[in-house]
Symmetry: C2
Subunit: 130 residues, 2 copies
DNA sequence: TTTTGACTTAAAGCCAACTTCAAGTATTAT
DNA sequence: ATAATACTTGAAGTTGGCTTTAAGTCAAAA
């Protein structure tokens, strides 16, 4: 599969796909005789994985480190596990912060929609900044 | 309260606090006779609100727009509500993506820890990119 | 066969969100 | 009184993550 097709399938620009390969987010993709990238099934799975991780905000650096360990073989399993655990904890922390923010947004929207009880409104007003 | 104290209380650098004021994330803070910022209760609540929103990834631009509407008075309530609703939806979308990623990370960690049943392991291996 | 469009590279540019710097004034501790 | 510390401003610099540009090669359609 050529880069344009992959780009469309995953909604990632060709430039970004080449960039991911250059910085080591995706191992080198096979080329045709004339030097054009020819993505195989494994490459596509890797792109999907990276897209998912990047969407969730995992930094490129942590991912490149993880992938370089994967390519080095089984003696790196402990180090890989550690990276994933650290990133998992960071992710959970961010999700909790977002949950808190979501509640605040929902309360504010309720205030603007006038769908709160009088008592609730008063409580909210006391703590209001904006 | 002076900027250094506020900075410590909320773990936001003085530079960032001044920057937030400059770009309109926080309305102008009162100054002492000699021109030094003197944060009051309302300012602190506003900083807390902004910190929470920024932590959750809401863009500065959306927040400055919202705040400028707040300062313009009650005829902007509908527009404010709309901004909050849009940002709420974006937040929920991001949280869902993070939830998906969290599950993938947990599965991978389980694989590395060998805490999966044989059947589960096989299923996971089939879909493995890294 | 020629032109159109996709591909290649390395390097420079861009954007959001700070962060640091330079140059100066004010306040606090000794 | 003087030195150290905290404050001020505007502007330049940094970081992460792409994105665009320049200059060129290659291949499929008209």
């Amino acid at each position: 599969m050529r880069i344009a097709e992959v780009s469309e399938k995953y909604d990632i620009s060709p430039d970004t796909l080449r960039y991911y390969e250059k910085v080591g987010l995706i191992p080198a993709v096979n080329r045709t005789g004339s030097g054009i990238r020819d993505y195989n099934e494994m490459d596509l799975k890797r792109i999907e994985f990276i897209k998912c991780m990047r969407n969730a905000g995992l930094p490129i650096e942590a991912l490149t480190e993880y992938i370089s360990l994967v390519l080095q073989g089984d003696q790196t399993i402990d180090a890989r596990k550690e990276i994933l655990k650290v990133q998992r904890e960071l992710l959970v922390t961010r999700m909790n912060e977002m949950q808190k923010t979501l509640q605040i947004l929902d309360t504010k929207i309720s205030v603007y929609e006038g769908t709160l009880l009088k008592k609730e409104k008063e409580m909210v007003q006391k703590d209001k900044a904006f």
